[in-house]
């Protein structure tokens, strides 16, 4: 089992490399001069040349590629063009807010979704099922930033229960700031995950071994939880992984709405202000999380699926 975990970790390295290559190719080889993109259409040729030199953009492409990889490996992302902080410092400052939001939202979403999904599956076709379907449809149709804006208008602006912007200072203040954005994302995740739980469970409940469990005298509760849900956990875990990444990227918009000093806010600000080093680093950090979550998922699978264990 340990060997398999190690194997998966090794597998993640080429994936990360590929992801970095993708980021590099997109940022450097797509149409558009990064220097012009950074300095704007009206920059003088001298300015552009200076910028290119600073950023190493006048090196041959393959050299740029290795410089880029080396910078990532040594966690040296250079200096921001706008802020006085280094890029590394900026990321360190902003990252915690994004992580706490993602974790809080996923916790809320999962805790709401699992019971809802099980109820919907076992009460298939009844009113509880229809309500979760409507919940899921709305959850899919309402954009997260719109729901966030509505929450902000109602609970922060009009009712004044929650702060309007910022990330908070001490622990309880941070929780207070976190509540509304986390609930916004969490409830949308719950809509998706409850439906996923329902369909995964329903699919598992069709399986032959469920019939075996009934035939040996298992009561419905036991059949559904011990045999059904335990097996449905496999697709649900995949859904949780996807959902975590979607929440992570969804936090970009939510951070903008609630004006939280998170990574998404930093990234979007950098794109807008053409702060090229910050933008590049922000995307690399997101890519890192994508690879990390997928790795975590692979490892979780080793623990919950015996078939993978004996591979």
């Amino acid at each position: 089992m340990f060997r398999l975990v190690a194997l998966r970790m090794l597998d993640a390295i080429p994936t990360m490399l590929l992801a970095l290559t993708l980021v590099f190719i997109t940022l450097r080889m797509l149409p558009g001069d990064p220097a012009i993109a950074a300095l704007g259409e009206y920059a003088t040729p001298q300015q552009l040349e200076l910028f290119r030199e600073q950023m190493g953009l006048n090196l041959p492409l393959w050299q740029q590629y290795f410089v880029f990889l080396w910078d990532v490996v040594t966690l040296d992302f250079g200096e921001s063009l706008i802020s006085s902080f280094s890029v590394g410092q900026l990321i360190a400052l902003h990252l915690p807010f994004t992580i706490e939001l993602t974790i809080a939202a996923m916790l809320m979403g999962t805790i709401m979704a699992l019971p809802l999904g099980v109820i919907a599956a076992t009460q298939r076709g009844k009113s509880a099922d229809s309500s979760t379907r409507i919940f899921a449809l709305l959850g899919f149709a309402v954009p997260d930033f719109y729901l966030g804006a509505l929450m902000l208008i109602v609970f922060a602006l009009n009712l004044g229960w929650f702060p309007i912007s910022g990330g908070g200072s001490d622990f309880w203040d941070r929780m207070h700031h976190l509540a509304l954005p986390a609930f916004t994302l969490g409830i949308l995740k719950a809509a998706f995950l409850s439906r996923l739980t329902r369909s995964s469970l329903l699919e598992v409940l069709q399986k032959d071994y469920i019939r075996t469990a009934r035939a040996k005298g298992g009561r419905e509760r036991r059949v559904i939880y011990r045999h059904g849900l335990r097996n449905a956990l496999l697709p649900i875990a995949t859904g949780l992984g996807l959902s975590t990444l979607a929440t992570l990227s969804g936090s970009v918009a939510i951070e903008l709405i609630f004006n939280r000093p998170g990574l998404g806010n930093l990234l979007v600000g950098a794109i807008e202000q053409r702060d090229y080093p910050v933008m590049q680093a922000g995307i690399v950090v997101f890519a890192f999380f994508v690879v990390l979550v997928n790795l975590a998922l692979d490892i979780i699978y080793i623990f919950i699926d015996p078939r993978i264990r004996s591979e």
Binding site: A19, A141, L150, L157, F286, A287
Partner: protein, 293 residues
Amino acid sequence: MSAVAEKPARMDDNGLIVQLWAAIRREPITQFFLFILIIIMVVAAFADFIAPYNPVQQSLLRLNQMPSADHWLGTDHYGRDVLSRIIYGARNSLLIGIISPIIAAVVGTFLGVVAGYFGGWADRLISRVVDLLLAFPALLLGILVAAALGSGFWDMVAVLTVAFAPQFARIARASTLAMRSEPFVEAAVSCGVGPLRIIARHILPNISGSIVVVLTLWIATAIRLEATLSFLGLGTQAPNPSWGNIIRDGLNNIFGSSWPIIAAGAAITLTVLAFNMVGDAVRDVLDPETRDD
């Protein structure tokens, strides 16, 4: 129990449209959303005739007005008519939201079928890249490509195409692989039929159903994603209205009026919901095994 579990009739009996219409007629809710969808499309197409005001016309005389007989949805902090902005915004949102998944479907299906049918190095390359892209949430890919490309109309289309094509490639590849091992494809090979003809006659017709299903459902996602990117300032740019950037504008003026946010968000929600419901009906006809109830 083959006699009891006869599968529902497929598109080869009746035309697809006939079946789809029959399915829609059975569901009053789907009818309602189809009606909504048609209205939204008509409004977007004839925005020039329907919108009561010029959407970019500013007026200092009527800033942040509440809804009234003159301005059904009020005005924003530049005094622009919110209803007119939403009507014009529908254009951008719908065009990008419909065109990009179609292009993505064509590109993705091509790649997926090539990878799935011919295998070999082409498959390895395509699969590896597709797997990687699939690991990224669509929004993140959108942000990445938008950061590199910019935010014109075709830039947005390209952004969404890159974000969605991997989904189609994955489905096309998987279904092609499944079809390839079907005995009827092997039978065609053993009859001396060439690969291109097999793809055209046996593979594409059998996978097109699932591609169309995914396509209709991804249109809804595309509209939402375009709105999100515009909201983040990476999509359609002000003063050109799109539903996403109306909300962005609204957020900057949240103390002045919340009407633009509420109205534009409702427009997105309704449109996504409508596409989704109609997409579900399409799926129920084309791909009845995966239906959700």
